[in-house]
């Protein structure tokens, strides 16, 4: 039997917003098993939520994640509105459109962020710089609408907190128009590049059966042929008032996950345009006063998958129980099957493919079980991944 070494990845790095700790068991070059440790960022928000009143909880859950910081408050207000009656019966129509605009803008910025990181891990640093460059105008749009680049504070039970000004709409549309050529460029850069195809196709495969058994969500599930999307299945906001498509791929590898995310950005651009056109005039807040006793469930398709909130009310001004399930909770666990059998140079990109707010790889160190001697550090592992791409390029006769 070959010598088995443990490769710890994580848990902390200044870049990442979700510390996770992967322990890879490696024989030779091959990953044979993986242990996943989470909890480094456990802040007890579910417990804290029980001590805040309904208005405050929206701000609290916004701080769960800085990247999908509109999904959590949205799912939470949907859960509370589920107690009051459904969203459509409670919230004014204009607010529904504004909610969808915020939700889709967030999807674009999150997918661009992932695309940049994924590019970096396989040695395409130009993709990284480009993706983050074109993410900036999206954040500017956020700043224009909400006043904040992140943590938008837009959602409240019964509506939204800020209106979109009429004079801003042409500027927003211009920004969306400018974004499309950038997306075209990424689509071409990824889908037509033989090296990226060779590097990502057939790597980190999650089969449809595995995707169902591990209950994965969002782009991770849709890339494996599982046709789920909360926006279509249980429409919220203006999702059922406009036209758009759910992107599904069959292969389940990292290439399919990349394609799903790139094509989804086009759909989001189209959704925001339609919302800006169709948005009626009127109120943006229903001014909800009391929450009756009962229990409600709110679901939102976050960039990474279904975000699930359960709220139980006893008629007071604070929730009795607030259960939060972020999509990464299900997706990260599936690495147990996706990463096993890969080579160690593919491990970084495989673990990154579910988009788990991931940059922890930079703290990787290979340690021999027997003498705890450090052989590789995190940067070496990314270099391994990038060298593999360079080697592929050389074999194919492509020069930078």
């Amino acid at each position: 039997m070959s010598h088995r070494v443990i490769v710890p990845i994580g848990p902390y790095h200044p870049l990442q917003d979700e510390p996770e700790f992967f322990q890879l068991y490696v024989e030779g070059e091959k990953v044979v098993d993986i242990d996943i440790f989470i909890g480094y960022n456990h802040r007890g928000i579910e417990k804290l939520s029980e001590s805040k009143h309904y208005d405050q909880v929206a701000f609290l859950v916004e701080r769960i994640c800085g990247i999908c910081s509109s999904s959590h408050p949205y799912a939470y207000v949907l859960a509370v509105e589920d107690i009051l009656g459904q969203e459509k019966n409670v919230v004014p129509k204009r607010a529904l459109y504004i909610r969808t605009i915020i939700d889709e803008l967030q999807r674009i910025h999150s997918h661009l962020l992932w695309l940049g990181l994924a590019g970096h891990f396989i040695g395409y640093n130009t993709v990284w710089m480009w993706a983050w460059k074109y993410r900036e105008p999206v954040l500017d749009m956020f700043e224009m609408i909400t006043g904040n680049r992140n943590n938008y504070a837009m959602f409240k039970v019964g509506g939204v907190r800020r209106d979109i000004k009429d004079e801003d709409i042409p500027i927003l549309k211009k920004a969306l128009d400018d974004l499309v050529p950038a997306l075209d460029m990424f689509k071409g850069a990824v889908m037509d590049d033989p090296v990226i195809q060779a590097r990502l196709k057939g790597v980190g495969i999650l089969t449809k059966k595995q995707a169902i058994d591990w209950c994965v969500l969002g782009p991770t599930a849709r890339a494996s042929g599982v046709n789920i999307d909360v926006r279509r299945d249980e429409p919220y906001g203006a999702c059922d008032l406009i036209n758009w498509n759910v992107i599904v791929e069959k292969d389940g590898d990292i290439f399919a996950k990349t394609v799903v995310r790139i094509l989804e950005m086009y759909e989001s651009v189209s959704m925001i345009r339609q919302c800006l056109d169709k948005m009626p005039k009127g109120e943006i807040d229903a001014d909800v006063k009391d929450i009756p006793p009962g229990e409600g469930i709110g679901r939102v398709e976050a960039p990474r998958g279904e975000c699930f909130h359960y709220v139980k009310s006893d008629g007071t001004n604070r929730p009795v129980r607030h259960k939060i399930r972020a999509p990464s909770f299900m997706n990260v666990a599936s690495n147990k099957v996706a990463a096993v059998g890969q080579t160690i140079s593919d491990a970084t990109i495989t673990l990154a493919a579910v988009d788990p707010c991931y940059c922890c790889t930079e703290r990787v160190a290979v340690i021999k079980k027997s003498d705890n001697k450090k052989i590789l550090n995190g940067w070496d592992l990314i270099k391994l991944s990038q060298e593999k791409t360079a080697k592929l390029k050389q074999q194919m006769g492509i020069n930078d």
Partner: protein
Amino acid sequence: MNVRDRIKEELGSKISYWQETNSKRIYFTIDKKDIFKTVEFMFKKLGLRFAIASGINTPSGFEILYHFSYDKAGEVYSVRVLIEEKNNPEIDSISSIFPGADWIEREMWELLGINFKGHPNLKHLLLSEDWPEGEYPLRRKNES
């Protein structure tokens, strides 16, 4: 036959309470000894997606809701189980039916102190390994 009717037909008298808070939200209560069979039926036979489970400490003991999503119709079926035991609650583990339930059972075990019988790997998930034994953050103290 729709999913509602199939659940009612299969589980029949095992369901002690059926509640639909609106057209998309269905809650029903079963006895805790039936949980394994019920989840197996809903996941394997009906092909529902397991969204999550949520536990709560009630005055008389514990309550677990297993939320299943029927994505074709956008409905959520929540199976409610009551555990009338204040100090040493336990229930059958469902993680042998599908691995996606593994983490949430570990989470409920450490936060609420519910023992999942037959769970292969019941160890800390969110809390630190040296968390004091018998301290469960989501249990309510001194409530009569």
